[in-house]
């Protein structure tokens, strides 16, 4: 445009534009109040639930004890696979619950993540040993493959090797019946 002409009038904003800030703000308030009511779930659920467990074959974590392979658990019965480590404090907290589950006849398999044999022996001596077999996952690859983001986590695997349930964090006392329920579902 020519700069010598009379200055152009600033065109007035259309009516709807005046209300735009309020509309946007209202949308913001609705969005966050919905979110405030449903606190964010910071757990990362494995996308593998309902899918067959990835194939793995872990060496024994303790001398003289069996290691853990995916094929070994696929024996027609549901299993509990517990991912743990001796350096993990909540893993000690859930030990009595695992012991209770083992007493009620649940086969529990362990995957010990980035652990040392001596530390593991001390851990099992102080907390009890509910495991039928313990695989050593020294580089955390199997843990990642199972879609687990931390320790402890516990998986319910059905007889065909399909992951039925993922429990994130330690199993608390009041959660034992729920875990047993999940195992029963997996058995059907």
């Amino acid at each position: 445009m020519s700069t010598d002409s009379t200055p152009e009038p600033m065109r007035k904003a259309p009516r709807w534009a005046i209300w735009l800030p309020l509309a946007l703000f209202f949308a913001f308030v609705v969005l966050v109040s919905v979110q405030l009511r449903n606190p964010a779930d910071t757990n990362v659920a494995s996308t593998l639930i309902g899918k067959p467990m990835p194939a793995f074959d872990l060496p024994p974590a303790l001398p003289g004890r069996p290691g853990l392979s995916s094929a070994a658990i696929t024996d027609g019965k549901p299993h509990l696979v517990n991912i743990f480590a001796s350096w993990c404090v909540p893993c000690g907290v859930e030990a009595p619950q695992l012991a209770a589950l083992a007493r009620s006849g649940v086969p529990i398999e362990g995957i010990s993540v980035r652990d040392r044999t001596e530390d593991l022996q001390v851990f099992l001596k102080t907390n009890g040993d509910p495991y039928q077999s313990i695989g050593a996952d020294d580089d955390g690859k199997v843990q990642l493959a199972l879609g687990s983001s931390g320790v402890p986590e516990t998986y319910v695997i059905d007889g065909k090797g399909v992951i039925r349930y993922q429990h994130i964090g330690e199993i608390r006392e009041d959660q034992v019946p729920m875990i047993l329920g999940k195992l029963q579902e997996a058995a059907q």
Binding site: M10, L22, F28
Partner: protein
């Protein structure tokens, strides 16, 4: 006793805020006009009462009165005095009390000195201020009483967390609060002006010092926060687009836009409705920022002071204040008379462009910050990071910076580019030289190339407004503008150099071995254990030499283990030279195959990185110069007015008695 005094003062202050609101609102009508006289004194007393409440809390913290729950939860008698005092606002309740105190005092100051505006606008402004304060008083008294007693009185307080005993942490929040509260005053002025439809130069001039002050503190807060994250987190980055960082950036962007549109309104009586809306938006951004940080609705590395209950309360305040103001804006904006006209090529035109670009960046940052929430409500989990924020904001920042070079040279109302064309020759050549230089060096990505070239041109262009002026007689606000614009150029230069030329190296070496990063030769001389009050650490002794013939310098990065609570931290060690910073972090011990362990070292050579924060401080300094200039001329005017009144009065008396 002191706690009860503080609580009583707080209740009284809240009651006076209620009175201020009612009297201010009623005084706007013809029948209530007689109430107008009490509004200003009430505002002053309300501020003083809030101050008494705050000082009571400071006293309780200073003497560690453990019968007060807040003190028992957050303090400890063994802390040094400075941290006991700073502990007053190092928690939710105390920081809210600090907020209302600053707000009350600022409102009192406005009531005391601001006489330029028509009285009805002032009454509406003070009523608006009281309304905002009242929300915070309610929040304090109902949901987070800082003076609550505790029985039985505990033997000792809980708060002896040495991690939080950091001078930076003690003074960072109040700095940001001063910024937020300054914007609340601007908000009240905007509301006042909307109520009475008196939007004009006087309104802009009254609001400007508050916006400037707020903007200075926000700038300092952001700069300091960025440096803190840089040296404390040990990740070698200086900006992460973290929600909490964005929460402080958004009010700054809005305040920057407001500052510039205020200048247009004050000088030329244009951009009326737009300035009012920015006044509302700037404060909205600080409240939204506070809400996002406090409610814990967004996942952030700064997860502290998080409580959904409080989040709901702040959200309610937010909805009432901001929703109310925006509704008022919608109702009144079209009746605010049109401002002066101007051509596209003019100072106003350049400032409008600046405003539009800043608003666009604000929108991008806001959208990116909230997008994870939006996605989650639709059932997807995402996080938005630098790959979105950096290019998207650069898209608008680059044109804005080009206009920044030209805009201050243009005349008000109407101008021609041909007039200033000659002045632009050198900056344009610098830009070309910058591009050629980086292309010749090779391997520099697009964005840093643009940034570098632009920064070089801006360094020259930003001081051009001083050309041909008598430097001693140049008004301070002009010096302020030049300094702040130069600060932008300097910071941009630092950012571009950092991302273009940084050298990063991750090595695992044995004690006695040497490695190189950039121009540095680094020898790992020893790794030794050291102990602190509640931590043990491994400290690496690094011997470093710059180039071939430099002096040998020693640095000691640490890998610390705290035991209560158990936590590993990396204490980076930095070496600053005029042309950059060496940043060293000690990682863990790598596998020891032959008995001699190797140590992981993460090393960065960051050329000219310090310019980022130097630039930030220059921007703040520019704001301070402008503020001093404006306040000084306001004071001169007030003194002159008082003198005239005094003479009139004396002459009047002399006339009567003669």
């Amino acid at each position: 006793m002191i706690a009860e005094l503080g609580l009583a003062a707080l209740w009284l202050a809240a009651a006076l805020a209620g009175l201020q609101l009612v009297a201010g609102a009623l005084a706007l009508s013809a029948r209530g006009a007689s109430l107008g006289g009490i509004v200003r004194p009430v505002a002053v007393v309300q501020g003083l009462l809030a101050l008494i409440a705050f000082l009571s809390l400071v006293y309780l913290f200073a003497v560690t009165d453990l019968s007060v729950k807040l003190v028992a939860m957050n303090s400890h008698s063994l802390k040094p005095l400075i941290f006991r005092v700073a502990g007053t606002w190092g928690n939710h309740e105390g920081s809210m009390l600090l907020w209302v105190t600053i707000m009350g005092l600022a409102g009192g100051l406005v009531a005391l000195i601001e006489r330029r505006l028509p009285e009805p606008t002032m009454l509406a402004t003070l009523a608006g201020q009281a309304f905002v304060s009242l929300g915070f008083y309610a929040f304090l008294l109902i949901a987070s009483n800082p003076f609550e007693r505790l029985w039985p009185v505990p033997q000792e307080g809980n708060g002896l967390n040495p991690l939080l005993q950091d001078l930076g942490l003690a003074f960072h929040p109040p700095t940001l609060y001063l910024g937020y509260v300054g914007l609340s005053i601007a908000f009240s002025f905007a509301v006042g002006a909307l109520v009475t439809r008196e939007v004009g130069p006087a309104f802009a001039k009254a609001m400007r010092p508050w916006v400037l002050g707020a903007w200075i503190f926000l700038t300092i807060g952001i700069t300091a926060g960025s440096y803190w994250a840089y040296y404390e987190l040990g990740w070698g980055g200086w900006w992460f687009w973290d929600p909490v960082e964005n929460a402080s950036l958004m009010p700054w962007l809005a305040a920057t836009a407001l500052l510039h549109s205020c200048s247009v309104l004050a000088a030329r009586n244009a951009l009326r409705a737009w300035t009012v809306m920015l006044g509302v938006v700037a404060f909205s951004m600080s409240m939204i920022g506070t809400f996002l940080v406090r409610s814990g609705i967004l996942t952030s590395v700064h997860a502290f002071a998080v409580d959904p209950e409080r989040g709901t309360f702040i959200l309610a305040l937010l909805a009432i204040n901001i929703g109310g103001a925006l509704t008022l804006f919608g109702l009144r904006a079209r009746t605010v008379t049109e401002g002066e006209r101007f051509a596209v090529t003019s100072r106003e035109g350049a400032l409008v462009f600046n405003n539009v670009m800043l608003s666009a960046i604000l929108g991008i940052v806001l959208f990116g910050t909230l997008y994870p929430l939006l996605a989650e409500s639709m059932g997807a989990k995402v996080s938005v990071g630098p790959p979105y924020f950096t290019p998207m904001s650069a898209l608008f920042a680059v044109p804005m910076l080009v206009v920044l070079a030209v805009g201050p040279l243009l005349r008000w109302r109407r101008d021609k580019f041909s007039r200033i064309g000659k002045m632009m020759v050198i900056p344009a050549m610098l830009v070309v030289a910058g591009v050629l230089l980086t292309v010749m060096l090779g391997g520099v990505p697009l964005m840093p190339t643009i940034g570098l070239a632009l920064a070089l041109g801006l360094v020259w262009a930003s001081v051009l407004p001083l050309e041909g002026r008598n430097l001693l007689r140049t008004p301070l606000p002009v010096w302020g503008m030049v300094t702040a614009h130069l600060g932008i150029a300097v910071a941009l230069l630092g950012m571009s150099c950092e991302s273009a030329f940084s050298v990063e190296k991750l090595v695992a070496i044995r004690v006695g071995e040497t490695t190189e990063v950039g121009p540095w030769q680094i020898k790992l001389d020893a790794v030794e254990p050291v102990a602190g009050p509640n931590w043990t650490a491994l400290e690496a002794r690094l011997l470093m030499r710059y180039g071939d013939d430099g002096r040998v310098v020693e640095l000691g990065p640490q890998s610390r283990s705290f035991w209560a609570p158990p936590q590993q931290t990396s204490e980076s060690a930095l070496l600053t030279r005029w042309n950059g910073q060496l940043y060293t972090v000690l990682g863990g011990e790598a596998d020891a195959k032959d008995g001699r362990s190797r140590w992981q070292l993460r090393l960065w050579w960051k050329p000219f990185v310090t310019l980022i924060w130097l630039g930030g401080l220059m921007i703040a300094l520019g704001g301070a110069l402008a503020l001093v200039g404006r306040v000084a001329s306001d004071l001169r005017r007030i003194i002159a007015r008082d003198k005239i009144e005094y003479r009139r009065e004396r002459q009047g008396r002399a006339g009567r008695y003669s």
